[in-house]
Symmetry: C2
Subunit: 634 residues, 2 copies
């Protein structure tokens, strides 16, 4: 067995009801590491272009990496990857928690699932084996109950469960996956893909921890982390991911009322500080992580139970300021419902915001909404809509399609309130005030995605060595958040390689570079100590670039072109409130930045397709244009 | 004062007879490091395009780096840079020895010289000061005597002298610079540039050693090197750079008789092993280096004195097999003469080989040669020609122009025996048998240059971790030496960034990656420990790429186009002897490789000029096409 990983992938064909083990050579692990990169390798090798994302031919891939299962803070994320039912293109969502490491301990680095079970099943994976088992009792149950049923059915202590929810069963296009009720593979509808396969969940348990190549070197990195990470003074630990709500508000970049505004009058009420002082009962964490940024909240009068954790920043903004809702307790209830139905909290909030703006503009009426008054700020209506979406009831059935399809169905100009890229709803970050996001949202293979790179305020810290863990990339000159010129494009391009690496190696952004806990070179040392490879930041960042390039090609193979690299019109209109009131993106500047980015990334600026040279550089010759010509022409 | 460097550049205007100190901000050092990159920065900022390389307007730049002066093996090279009188484009040549560190100790990181002294002078640099002094007594003297005169004139113990020779005084277009009589900035005619300025040499002495930022970390790297470098079993130490002559011969890639052949019947007689067993009296070294690859030889009957060192591989091949000469003693004498006149041993040998092939083909006759019978193998004639070239006597005056200009003057089809790229003669490595050299020679900004990247046999070792110090680049799959496809182009492109970094940071190739003594990550650790910068292999390799891109632009500014990226016709003709008999390059394959390389390097494949995106990525926006349009149009 190689160091750090099992060398084994579990293959599952649900139609045939069979499972088998595939062994991959070490060279594949070194080139793709795991996570998004290795999963995309499978998609590109095996998935036929043009299949229905919710049909049996789609593949669902859960992938750990070469370092998953070690005790390094933030190093235990895994990726869920499939053709996305939301975008029709590349779908990927990462989660941490406890499931990934447990899968490694059970003897596999990843699971590749194809086909569709004739009736609801779950997978039980342990000790290098896998069973397909009946899940009919768990089907249709909210997440907490479903978990209890499956864990009882397995009957083994310490089992970890990844599951889709009622929303996924109902093929809500942005249904998520969740493990241990609190850790979400949120975006791109991975829960719907699992649901479409009649697969309720995957229970894993194992005891064989992969061994590192050089224990001493690994412990040196642990020790370094311990000495440098000051948890007591880390706002991420203290106040969680929503620690920054007040400053986002102050800076005019807190998405409010469907991105019309950048400032919210109740920002303080929904902040991490307020949460800490009111409803927080515990700080949760993920396997091996000292940061403990997760929240657990309790609101007795609303029945909000800590077992579903607590709202993250994205959830708070998308179900708070974005909807004009300033009541943290109500948001906590929304968070619990999102967890019970297993929905992406971003896309759900955006779908509700879309509906509210349609309602306020007379495009949707009480007749359409079943009597709900969908004004911004209506907490009860928002709560109600989550359940309706999860169950595909009434207007919820339309909103369950995502804002792009919903707008098409509703018509009457609704599309101007449907804020998405490639069909995926915008996350809670404002491109007009953090302008690298304009490129990120437009070009991300998953559609509007905030996990492509750190955001612009971070770029303003370049030059302050102690605040700039990206100094190893030579990013040492500050770049203004409103800049969208060559310096910003370069900073974004470099950082994107880091973030893409994170998604392949399974590193958490919150624990990684941006926060400064784990400096890039420490990550390199860590990968080296675990795998024994004489690797470097150069090689690792090239994995990041490789992953991004492959996902790009996946989309082109599915018929996407560079014309899909767009932003909603609203981004070219002025913000209506806050410190950046009136600020908007400029179409010409945006087009120029995009073109420069293409060229920098090694994509033909005219076609947007990766050049032959970039493919050769990344050892992706097998994805040259003529190789995929047939499918792209479909 | 920052760590590792002085932050000061000595400026000299010989026309005005004045010197001054220029301070550079740390950001410039971090972006350019020193050596070739920092020198090219000066050329591009200050040198007017189109000037006569041998006129007073040309600049001569001697540049150390941020790590020069530390006691790390192989880390003390410096660069000599100017517009080349041989190519009319970018000129650069590196040397090690003792001069670079001494300049640092004297208070300067580099010297930038402009103008022309009214009569012969030398520079005396010490303790942060500089004087321009009379050198008329040393002018016209062979190197050994000139050194004695200047050192006596300075009258201080421990002075190190960099000088041009009689060849440089006579403006031989490939005259070199030498320090301590043994260490040459060989190529591109830097000696002629110094001579053209009436500058005989630069004497330096200093006692202020720059301090590293982190002594302990630096010593950790020293210790690692000590523990891993096994001098007693290092052929480079034992037999010097010509250790490989027999295997080159066996592999059919030992340049023989002006590149007509790849095998030489007297290969063993001119090998490093034979040298060791016959004329070697000592192994010399450079500042701080444990490898000691330098040779010192003695041949009493020919008056060959160890003070001029001994022949390197390039000298042995260019003045041995290339001329059909298999007598090591005669080559040792040639080496001494090359040192006395301070000539580039490669271009000199190539000029003689050119003359010999012309002679054998009736293009040159005894009348032209002053009675010399220039047949291949004629030792006496070869020795005589070196002096005639150094003194520009008879046919030597024509050969002193380099083979390109000589062929133009001679006419009668002589150009087919003039093997050069952009006017610079081919070094002693065979592109037909080490095919990455086809791209290297064609695209190097200095013309045919073997210091662009490691050579192909090295690429065949990829995959053998212990033999592959380039593993950190992800180069882990072997590539055949005769391959010129995408995998070769990629390997070359990555390695070129490493070698270009070496030329900027002042690292010796013999001691660096290819030999495996200094692994890439150790170099990063070293730079980090000396400078205190939180840098990485990524950032450092980008300096390498930056240097290469800047030199490319310098050439375009001087009127070069991609049409100058060529190879001599002979490379497309079959080798006439040896293991690769009949092997030749294919024009179509070469053109495709070149185009792929352009695109990979971020150069427009149609124009060959670096793209706007590559310039932005490398922080070279100031070199965008429109910035240099006027000059390029000249």
């Amino acid at each position: 067995m190689p160091y750090g990983f099992n060398g084994k992938i579990l293959r599952v064909d649900l139609t045939e009801g069979k499972t088998w083990t595939e062994e991959l050579p070490e060279s594949i692990y070194r080139r793709y590491l795991g996570g998004g990169a290795l999963a995309t390798y499978y998609l590109l090798k095996e998935l036929k272009p043009g299949v229905d994302p919710l049909g049996p031919e789609n593949m669902l891939i859960l992938m750990c990496s070469v370092i998953t299962g070690m005790n390094m803070s933030g190093a235990n994320r895994f990726s869920a990857v499939a053709k996305s039912p939301l975008t029709g293109g590349y779908g990927e969502a990462e989660a941490s928690g406890y499931w990934g490491p447990e899968l490694k301990f059970a003897g596999f680095d990843g699971i590749v699932i194809q086909g569709k079970a004739p009736q609801p099943v779950y997978l039980w994976v342990h000790d290098g084996q896998a069973e397909i088992r009946d899940a009919s009792k768990a089907w249709g149950k909210l997440a907490g109950e479903a978990e209890e049923i499956i864990k009882a059915d397995v009957g083994v202590k310490g089992v970890r469960l990844l599951q889709t929810g009622v929303a996924g069963e109902n093929l809500v296009r942005y249904a998520a996956l969740v493990n241990e009720l609190k850790h979400f593979n949120g975006r791109c509808g991975m829960g719907a893909v699992m649901g479409s396969k009649n697969l309720k969940g995957i229970a894993v348990r194992g005891k064989n921890k992969p061994q590192p190549a050089d224990k001493e070197a690994m412990f040196t990195v642990y020790k370094w982390f311990k000495e440098h990470y000051d948890r007591e003074n880390d706002p991420m630990h203290d106040m969680g991911t929503s620690r920054g709500v007040p400053s986002l508000d102050q800076d005019g970049i807190l998405p409010t009322r469907n991105f019309r505004e950048g400032s919210f009058e109740f920002a303080r009420e929904i902040s991490g500080k307020t949460m800490k002082e009111t409803i927080l009962v515990n700080r949760g964490t993920c396997y091996g992580c000292s940061v403990a940024c997760k929240r657990e909240v309790k609101v007795e009068e609303l029945g909000v139970d800590p077992r579903y954790g607590g709202p993250e920043y994205e959830t708070i903004a998308a179900n708070g300021s974005l909807l004009g809702i300033g009541n943290l307790k109500s948001i906590a209830l929304a968070n619990q419902l999102l967890g019970q139905y297993v929905l992406d909290s971003i896309s759900t909030g955006m779908a509700i915001a879309f509906a509210m703006e349609c309602y306020e503009n007379g495009i949707l009426t009480k007749e359409d909404t079943g009597g709900l008054e969908l004004n911004f700020g209506n907490e009860e209506a928002a709560i109600k809509l989550i359940e309706m979406i999860g169950r595909r009831e009434g207007i919820g059935d339309i909103l369950a399609e995502g804002v792009k399809r919903a707008a098409e169905k509703i018509g009457k100009g609704a599309e101007k309130f449907a804020l998405h890229v490639k069909g995926q709803e915008l996350p809670m970050h404002e491109p007009r005030g953090k302008r690298s996001l304009a490129i990120a949202y437009a070009t991300s293979p998953t559609g509007a995605d905030h996990m492509e790179a750190p955001h612009d305020p971070f770029y303003e810290a370049f030059g302050h060595e102690e605040m700039n863990p990206l100094s190893p990339l030579g990013l040492v000159e500050p770049v203004d958040r409103l800049d969208l010129g060559p310096k910003k494009v370069k900073a974004f391009y470099y950082c994107q390689a880091v973030w893409s690496l994170y998604n392949s190696v399974g590193m958490c952004d919150f624990d990684g570079v941006p926060i400064g806990h784990v400096r890039l070179e420490k990550l390199v040392e860590f990968v080296r100590s675990v795998t024994g490879w004489n690797t470097s930041l150069w090689e690792l960042l090239k994995v990041g670039e490789r992953a991004n390039t492959m996902a790009r090609i996946f989309n082109f193979r599915e018929g996407f072109t560079k014309a899909d690299d767009t932003l909603p019109d609203r981004m070219f209109e002025g913000l209506q409130s806050g410190a950046l009131k009136g600020k908007k993106l400029d179409r010409k500047e945006f087009a120029e930045a995009l073109r420069l980015y293409y060229q920098m990334a090694g994509w033909d600026p005219d076609t947007g397709y990766p050049t032959r040279a970039k493919l050769a550089e990344l050892d992706l010759d097998w994805l040259a244009p003529e190789q995929i010509a047939t499918s792209a022409a479909d």
